[in-house]
């Protein structure tokens, strides 16, 4: 029996080398049960390689991967019994219809009863909005419809883990919204591990985020922690008047780690990094306003957006590489 804290995915020093090139280097990854984990990284970061290693579609050069505590090489079929997978560029048999594709997929898991399998197929087609196109050949489906079929076939077996490789990449905004809604609905029952480059989607649905670059893990944290930024809690203020005095006064406080200032249009914009959030909330504004000449026109906790953090991490990683 799995507990709330059970790790569904766990890798130890997972490494894959293709013809001398490091596709993945020493990946240590942990994904807990019933979470949605966004797997980010630029092209060639090692996302698809990691997913293929988890599914046993390719073998690690070094290290190991475990899914449900099972070894990805030795117990690959047992793992795939409990996993639903949607590939980045999903391909199916073109001679089949959507219904036939789901029937073919379902028969890898279930042998009967026939009517229950057909009911499951019907329910899944309705879930992804393909019921009216169920009996058309796949080659007649649009990109978005094929992607929805991909999601349908990935969850036909009520999987304990769904792995989606760029599930919304080829979809229009409505298609993306539908996919995210399906993911939200499924999170109650399953763990979702998905790679994407659409950062808004990650911010919206993920519990944890993993960022890869050049085959290496560069960040792995709960989304809230990552969104707080690497500088910890930061407040931003816009001060009219003597901004320099406010900066000096704030920098002297023991709970302030750094203050950066920039001027524009006669106002000073201050970014204040703090160690104690509660003290900052009660003291910070008072300290600035203690100076009668100073007027605060804007004040608030700095909200990072994921794109900013992602670029910061990935480009910081690139700068480190260049220094080496």
């Amino acid at each position: 029996m799995q507990t709330e804290n059970t790790l569904v995915i766990q890798t130890h020093g997972l490494t894959k080398i293709y013809k001398g090139a490091n596709a993945l280097q020493n990946l240590d990854l942990q994904v807990p049960q019933n979470t949605i984990c966004g797997f980010l990284g630029p092209h060639g970061a090692g996302k698809s390689t990691t997913i293929k290693l988890l599914l046993g579609l390719t073998r690690p050069t070094k290290g190991k991967a475990e899914v449900f505590g099972l070894d990805s090489v030795r117990d690959s079929v047992s793992i795939r019994q409990r996993v639903g997978y949607l590939a980045q560029d999903p391909r199916y048999y073109d001679h089949m219809t959507a219904r036939e594709t789901l029937r073919f997929t379902a028969h890898f898991f279930y042998s009967g009863p026939r009517q229950m399998i057909e009911d499951r197929i019907k329910e899944t087609l309705e879930l992804v909005g393909l019921a009216d196109k169920a009996d058309r050949p796949i080659k007649g489906l649009s990109g978005g419809e094929r992607q929805r079929l991909g999601i349908a076939q990935a969850q036909i077996n009520y999987p304990d883990l769904i792995i989606l490789d760029e599930p919304a990449a080829s979809l229009d905004p409505m298609g993306r919204r539908d996919v995210l809604e399906v993911m939200e609905r499924l999170r109650k029952h399953t763990t979702i591990f998905y790679s994407t480059h659409i950062l808004d989607d990650v911010q919206r649905v993920s519990d944890t985020v993993v960022i890869m670059n050049h085959g290496q893990l560069v960040a792995h944290a709960p989304i809230a922690e990552l969104m707080a930024g690497k500088d910890g809690v930061v407040y931003s203020l816009t001060v009219k008047g003597d901004g320099q005095a406010a900066q000096t006064r704030l920098a002297q406080q023991p709970w302030v780690t750094s203050v950066t200032a920039g001027s524009s249009n006669g106002a000073t914009a201050l970014q204040v990094s703090v160690t104690d959030e509660h003290t900052a909330e009660s003291q910070l504004l008072r300290l600035v306003l203690a100076d009668a000449d100073a007027t605060v026109t804007e004040f608030g906790r700095k909200k990072h957006n994921l794109e900013e953090i992602f670029l910061d991490i990935v480009e910081g990683d690139k700068a480190n590489d260049n220094r080496k």
Binding site: K52, L55, L57, T58, R59, V77, S78, R80, Q81, V83, Y85, A87, D89, P90, R91, Y92, Y93, H95, F104, T105, H107, F108, F109, Y110, S111, G112, P113, M116, I117, R120, N157, Y158, D160, H189, T190
Partner: protein
Amino acid sequence: MTTANSALQPVAERGWQRGFGNLFRNENNLRWGRYRWIMSALIWLAILNGFVFLVAFGEADSGRSTPAEIAAVCMNVFMTIGAIATAVGVVVGVQGAIIREKQLGTAAWVLSKPASRSAFVLAKMLSHSLAFLGLSLLLPSLVFYGQSQMLWGKTPAALPFLGGWLVMVLHLLFYLALTLMLGTLFSTRGPVAGIGLGFLFGGQIVPNFAPEWVTLIFPWPLANLAPALALGQEVPSAWPIPVIATAVWTVVFMGVALWRFGREEF
């Protein structure tokens, strides 16, 4: 999820068999579904039995041969052309069976489900075997029996004919295993078709300069052995060697195909 899941019966296959039934059904649908088999059957009947008709009428028109001699010539033509043509058909028809799925990504999709890699290869082997045996050997052979009765009022002796037919089956299975194995070793069709057909037609040249034992350990003599057995003619004393060697090669090729496909990286 578990509650909904529990009412459905899980697949009972384990180990290498996992997914075999489903994959085999899918392969069979491709071969036998939607009237495709009728087209294949008509092509094979036209090639093999049509050729027999042409030879039979040609011989009869020349007036040089007795009906028994014409029947023997036709049997010879049927078995020899049958062995060669079905081998060509296998190489051409099966060259993309594995490569196409590797290239398109459908193999990776299927193998992301609980299906063993051995089941993937064996389902193709069995399905193609049944289709080729049924449509390119069994059906034309039954029609040949009917042709013999119609043309010469006499059917071939059953046991010798069966012996020759089984040799043709072995010949076909060899090229099927070879083609599937090459499909696991290469990533494009060119080398698969080139090596398969090159090996088949190389058999016409190799005996001219290679020692006899080289010819005997490959299936080349089988195309001549099949009609000789079927006609009850005297066969070379070494005839069991190519039969046994071909059977061994077939098993070895399938073993290599399973081993190589088991290590394929998707």
